[in-house]
């Protein structure tokens, strides 16, 4: 695929809308670059770079046209991506990647990054106002109180 210099930036922008988390939350996971590389690889390996390429171009257009209005961006995503199974799959893959660190049911593993970080950085635990089991432990007795990490709380 043609290297898209803005690839990671576009992935970040659209991912923030798709996941409902802030860009800084996504950056704070440290996973943007590895996830971008991983996604590219998956599509290169599947000989389907054009799907990802079009998705990124289309995403940029949607964000440029409708951002920062979240509702407008999401409804554009729904009408321009979801009806087409390839894009629908990609949207699901991207959201799942951020939320659980999985790609088609497996924890994403990337060269040069600690194995399992994808799991540890999963945003679903923030959405649940908790932490991934086995990591980011909140300390003795924390479970007896309301959580102090409220990143996932409904605003």
């Amino acid at each position: 695929m043609k290297e898209n210099n803005n690839g990671p930036e576009i992935l970040l922008e659209i991912s923030a809308y798709l996941t409902g988390f802030e860009k800084a939350d996504l950056l704070g996971t440290g996973m943007l670059d590895p996830y971008y590389r991983y996604t590219v690889n998956q599509y290169v390996n599947a000989d389907d770079s054009s799907t990802l390429q079009s998705f990124l171009m289309e995403s940029k257009d949607i964000v440029d046209t409708f951002g920062p209005d979240e509702d407008a961006v999401i409804s554009a995503v729904k009408s321009r991506f979801l009806p087409y199974s390839k894009f629908n799959t990609l949207v699901t893959q991207i959201v799942t990647m951020w939320y659980t660190g999985e790609w088609n049911g497996n924890i994403i593993s990337i060269d040069g990054y600690t194995k399992g970080q994808a799991y540890v950085q999963g945003l679903i635990w923030d959405a649940a106002e908790t932490h991934p089991p086995g990591a980011k432990q909140p300390g003795y007795g924390s479970w007896a109180k309301e959580p102090i990490n409220s990143k996932g709380n409904i605003k």
Binding site: A24, L27, G28, G30, Q137, P138, S142, I148, N149
Partner: protein, 408 residues
């Protein structure tokens, strides 16, 4: 089953203490005979004024600030390590930080024991959190500038210097307040010894009148509230307890081993074999040396720098990859970013959490130790916020980093 080295009756520990005393005697002698005089040891204690109890309280407050000032740089180093990487280095740095906090809390106990009130967080007039880059509070080692930055080889070298101000090549002074005047000491260890002397003098005076300076009624922090450090927290109700606190602090960290720089090494000297299998906790300085050189000390390693191993660790290798560290901006500030930016918000959240922690410690060390339970949770939360900032890009293509600034 208990682990013997956690207790003060550990022979190793006593050995350290006796070494400390041995060194004091030498200093006394040094004062008498100028040719063996330690550099920097000339100034102190020649004009002995009597310190007041208020002086002592203030000196202890300084001690606490000194202990605290090292915590943000150590934490930056710790949190900059990529998750799951450099595991052993992370464990080592973590163990040091936990003990620095232990020291701070024990000094707070000491302040409480003499009827004072430790102040953590908001100090009238001067900031409790130093503005980094900074020198150590108490005017310790004027040449040593401490930055908030990631774990780098250079930063570990600075850590070694922080933990070893007794190095003869550098000018090291600690100011001790006596009756509005200030006296300088050449190492943190000497500073603590002088504090101990003040305690002893004041207590002796009080005893003469059938009284004691250990009149504090405030509930102190106990091992139930502070755990996980090498060495257990000590409650202070007597001169012996006070001595135990100071021994513990000096043992674990600063300045108990000036002799390895000051005295010549004799072949086969066993008194510098400090790293036996029975010693799991040795001083911070040596733990940082292990990180710096990527090796553990082994039992046959001597601590003396003129020994065959040069005082350096030659044991099992510690796998350290200096690239598996997030690089942050040195000494970041919130004001580096626009107020409406997400980065600013993240930095603000971090600082808010840090200040909550200090407030919690303040409460915990002022009669409400039970709140420290919550402090543990805040500490963990702070860690995860800092780790986010180690990954969020800031200026110069480096991570934004935690700034450790005071927020009301």
């Amino acid at each position: 089953m208990s682990n013997s080295y956690q207790h003060n009756n550990n022979p190793r520990r006593q050995q350290l203490n006796s070494r400390l005393k041995h060194k004091q005697q030498q200093e006394e002698e040094a004062k008498k005979s100028p040719k063996t005089m330690l550099r920097g040891a000339a100034a102190p204690a020649t004009t002995k004024k009597t310190a007041t109890l208020e002086d002592l309280k203030e000196n202890l407050q300084t001690a606490m600030e000194l202990e605290h000032s090292t915590i943000p740089p150590y934490l930056c180093a710790l949190y900059s390590i990529k998750e799951g990487k450099n595991l052993m280095a992370a464990e080592i740095v973590k163990s040091v930080v936990i003990e620095e906090m232990l020291h701070m809390v024990m000094v707070a106990n000491l302040i409480n024991s003499i009827g004072g009130s430790p102040i953590i967080g908001k100090v009238k007039g001067k900031p409790f959190i130093p503005s980094y880059p900074t020198r150590l509070p108490g005017n310790v080692d004027k040449d040593l500038i401490i930055n908030l930055t990631s774990l780098t080889k250079e930063q570990v070298r600075v850590f070694c210097k922080i933990e070893h101000p007794g190095d003869e090549e550098r000018e090291v002074k600690v100011q001790l307040r006596v009756n509005s005047g200030e006296i300088e000491y050449h190492s943190i260890g000497a500073f603590y010894e002088a504090v101990m002397e003040q305690i002893e003098t004041l207590e002796a005076e009080a005893q003469k009148k059938g009284k004691t300076i250990f009149t504090g009624k405030t509930q102190q922090v106990t091992p139930e509230h502070y755990y996980g450090a090498g060495g257990s927290i000590i409650n202070v109700h007597s001169i012996e307890d006070a001595r135990a606190v100071i021994d513990e602090i000096v043992d674990q960290g600063e300045g108990s081993f000036g002799s390895i720089f000051a005295e010549p090494y004799g072949e086969g000297q066993e008194e510098y074999l400090w790293f036996g299998a029975d010693v799991e906790e040795y001083a911070h300085y040596f733990r940082f040396k292990e990180v710096q050189y990527g090796r553990f000390y082994k039992p046959t390693d001597s601590a003396h720098r003129d020994s065959p191993n040069g005082g350096l660790p030659t044991g099992e290798e510690i796998d350290i990859d200096w690239d598996d560290v997030y690089l942050m901006n040195d000494n970041p500030k919130m004001e580096d970013y626009p107020k409406d930016s997400e980065v600013y918000q993240k930095m603000y959240d971090f600082n808010k959490t840090y200040c909550n922690l200090l407030d919690n410690l303040d409460k915990g060390c002022n009669g409400k130790p039970e709140v420290l339970r919550e402090g543990i949770m805040i500490m963990f939360d702070m860690k995860y916020k800092a780790q986010e900032l180690m990954k969020i890009p800031g200026k110069n293509g480096l991570a934004a980093g935690p700034s450790f600034e005071y927020i009301d």
